[in-house]
Symmetry: C2
Subunit: 326 residues, 2 copies
């Protein structure tokens, strides 16, 4: 299958690398809103094209992976390009998924294409595990923990504070909360009881560090509801020790079965990722394979991870899957 | 959906309990090879019927869950009853799955029914995770660990030894092996390095315990390739401390991504189950829902967990899943 990448940031670069790991996938073109001559990609011989020329590639691309942001890019881009291509995105604004789904579905049904939205790990793999685990254990409770990992949104929020030159924020699950859930308790956990936030901040030499720390800790939505730790470090330390974009987390279903619901069961799915965008990209490429196959079978419209039979994600045949994976 | 249960052992009883936890499912009948009057079930008003009369229930049952053994029951039962019903089984002889699939597929295609085989946790949920994780991370290695939990097959094997009155065998993952895999190493692990076996044995008063222990530890296939510990205990202790049928285990995919495969990722799926048969039963009922829906959409033939879109397992609608689970 021939894949197009729209947007060449961390995610787009991750998709390019993931394509190289999949023998049945081939990078056909990278589309950008920037000046194409300013964009240097890894793969030799593949054109970098201005997004204004994308419709000329309708017959050269089987699936377009849209690597844009959820805030402003994807709500317009995914329905727009579903008019011409099978598309995949990683739209992750949970509250707006139904609206996004409906817009993309309309476009993809009209064009006869398949669009898979919100692929990645949350939404994505975590969603899959929440849905399957709760179908298996109807009497129970779901818990999602994130981290330890870098939250780009929280890091950005700190950087916007006056006197801050750079910052990195880690989201960390509270070990005691995790232990309670794993032990089979089904506690009601507050936001504060589930996660802590740890910030590494580079302040400008003359900045008032106490003021910055206070501003971080009291920031509504981002930090006020959490126990937050702030460390001031040098730019050198930040670059040396906090350059990666690791992330991860876990989804736990704690449920009961039996005549009197006397037996407890814990289903846990966890991810430990060195690179958040590269893992997300790897999920996107697997779902690109599914979109391509579903469209070839005559399907169209918007889909999510819930609608995709797992076999469609794998390069292996049904026979191979049954022999080696079942 | 109206469900029939064929076979009323641990698994059949588990299915009966699981049906009570699912508002859209209803137990229609229990079929048995025993004298029906000797089988007492939990659910009031539901008939217990001799299996010889099962075809009379063709129009009264949407899905038949076949709760038989993989060694001798399921290879004949599942193809036989796929002639009349949508069927589900938990066939778990991994090496014989392709042959079983092909026999069941032939019968279910001829009758226009859907048959889902090898649903449960391994095969089943573990298979799903092996397939999806390896599709996401093509460069990597898979590890499956079982336990800590009771292996019925190994317990039975000990009970067949002369002088043994009762026995319970636990399969236990080796913590060091688990740690190596979780740390991102991709070691080649021998059978002995992955699991140990712990046996609790009730010997008859005059039995030669040293001889029993030697016979267990040297038993080919079952114990010879493992580090095995044998404890002799009283029947009272066995009944008091080892009455449950807990099990569990985990599937880990350790993979790499990036330009030079420099980033490591760990996907881990784990189960901790108080009751192995009740958890398996809960999976079977979720897949019964899928079989019923697939058949109503006009599908037929043999399917596995790889062929079932996750949404089909859930009682929630597409809208509900997208709003609450994505």
């Amino acid at each position: 299958m021939k894949i197009g990448i729209l947007g060449y940031g961390n995610l787009g670069r991750g998709v390019e690398c993931a394509i190289r790991q999949n023998a049945d996938a081939e990078l056909a073109a990278v589309f950008t809103r920037r000046d194409p001559s300013s964009v240097k990609i890894l793969t030799e011989g593949v054109p970098v094209v201005h997004v204004s020329e994308i419709t000329g590639y309708r017959d050269k691309i089987d699936v377009l992976i849209i690597c844009g942001g959820s805030a402003t890019d994807l709500p317009t881009m995914t329905p727009e390009y579903a008019k011409y291509f099978n598309v995949i995105d990683s739209f992750d604004t949970h509250a707006k998924i139904p609206e996004h789904f409906s817009n993309v579905d309309r476009a993809a049904k009209a064009s006869g294409k398949v669009a898979i939205i919100s692929a990645g790990w949350d939404p994505g793999m975590f969603s899959l595990n929440r849905a399957i685990a709760s179908a298996i254990l109807p009497d129970g409770a779901d818990y999602t923990f994130w981290g330890k990992g870098v939250s780009q949104g929280h890091s950005d929020a700190i950087r916007r504070i006056e006197g801050v030159l750079d910052a990195r924020q880690y989201t960390i699950p509270v070990p005691e909360a995790l232990e309670r859930v794993r032990s089979g308790e089904t506690p009601d956990l507050s936001v504060r009881e589930k996660h802590t936030r740890e910030c590494f901040v580079v302040a400008s030499p003359l900045a008032d560090k106490a003021k910055i720390e206070k501003e971080i800790k009291e920031m509504p939505n981002y930090f006020a509801d959490y126990d937050t730790t702030v460390h001031f470090i040098s730019q050198e330390e930040l670059d040396r020790d906090h350059k990666g974009i690791p992330h991860g987390g876990l989804v736990i279903r704690s449920g009961r079965t039996g005549k009197d619901l006397e037996n407890r069961h814990i289903i846990e799915y966890s991810l430990k990722l060195d690179s958040n965008p590269e893992f997300t990209s790897s999920v996107l490429v697997a779902y690109a394979r599914a979109a391509y196959r579903m469209n070839r079978k005559g399907e169209s419209g918007c889909k999510t991870v819930f609608d995709v039979a797992p076999a469609l994600l794998s390069p292996l045949s049904g026979e191979e899957l049954r022999s080696h994976m079942l």
